[in-house]
Symmetry: C2
Subunit: 159 residues, 2 copies
Amino acid sequence: EDIVVSEVQLDEGQSRITIRGIANRPGVAAEVFAAVGEGGVMVDMIVQNIGLEGRTDISFTVPRSDLERCLLLVRELGEHWEGAQVSFEREIALLSVIGIGLRSHTGVGERMFAALGAADVNVDMVNTSEIRVSAVVSPTTAKSAHAALLKEFGLTEVG
Amino acid sequence: EDIVVSEVQLDEGQSRITIRGIANRPGVAAEVFAAVGEGGVMVDMIVQNIGLEGRTDISFTVPRSDLERCLLLVRELGEHWEGAQVSFEREIALLSVIGIGLRSHTGVGERMFAALGAADVNVDMVNTSEIRVSAVVSPTTAKSAHAALLKEFGLTEVG
Ligand SMILES: C[C@@H](O)[C@H](N)C(=O)O
Ligand SMILES: C[C@@H](O)[C@H](N)C(=O)O
């Protein structure tokens, strides 16, 4: 695969909200984002993996300044839902390896996770797109994780 | 938000592999994708949500023709891991709403999930990027889901 990794971005300005044990049936995600939308909150990443026994977890990231308001909206919603639990992380670090020609994420993912693993950085969440592989890591490991990835992909820190 | 949704793509050519209960510690994702990479498998979407009690689930999609080989590689790896379970879905439908100006996914997500919910389509997985919100749905609902989204965003089917 002819892949060129052009940058590694570190975003330390977001927070994560997770609703664990949300009912895995039609219309539920719609309710979550209708509530969040009404609050005018800007959602960046939305991640939902496959569920189990009628339930699943849905996570999304918002700018830190929107966290409190978003939690109010989501908790209000969560009160109607038996078994659902709202959790959040005020500070997350979102690392993105950006490349062109990412028709397959195997190569970049393999190297990114290997570099993070070797730096003893745990990967908390993973998300992908046409041009990037993103990992959420703890803010305490963010700087060393960023450095490890820049080194792995032969890039120097910008700005 | 000034968002223009330009297309809704339906990809019915992929399969999903999930490793449930994978150890949530550094280096594990690296092992998974090293094994997959060695098999020359092209991975498209990788989704991992936040874990619980030292474990999490990681899912990824591959072209259907790569499924068998990928399962062999992943199961071989999974044998060393206590408590981890490999599951898969041979046929998934991946719907992506693509837009420009998606600085926030709230608006598009809200409408996409509302349209799917109204069409009684369950959202099995969610993934986002700068230009798209993607949802995995069952192949049996794929066509009606695609139609519902094209209608929601005022688009006609292409090709
Ligand atoms: C969990 C949520 O995504 C649900 N499956 C829905 O379709 O709305
Ligand atoms: C589950 C997997 O992502 C693990 N947390 C790792 O860092 O490799």
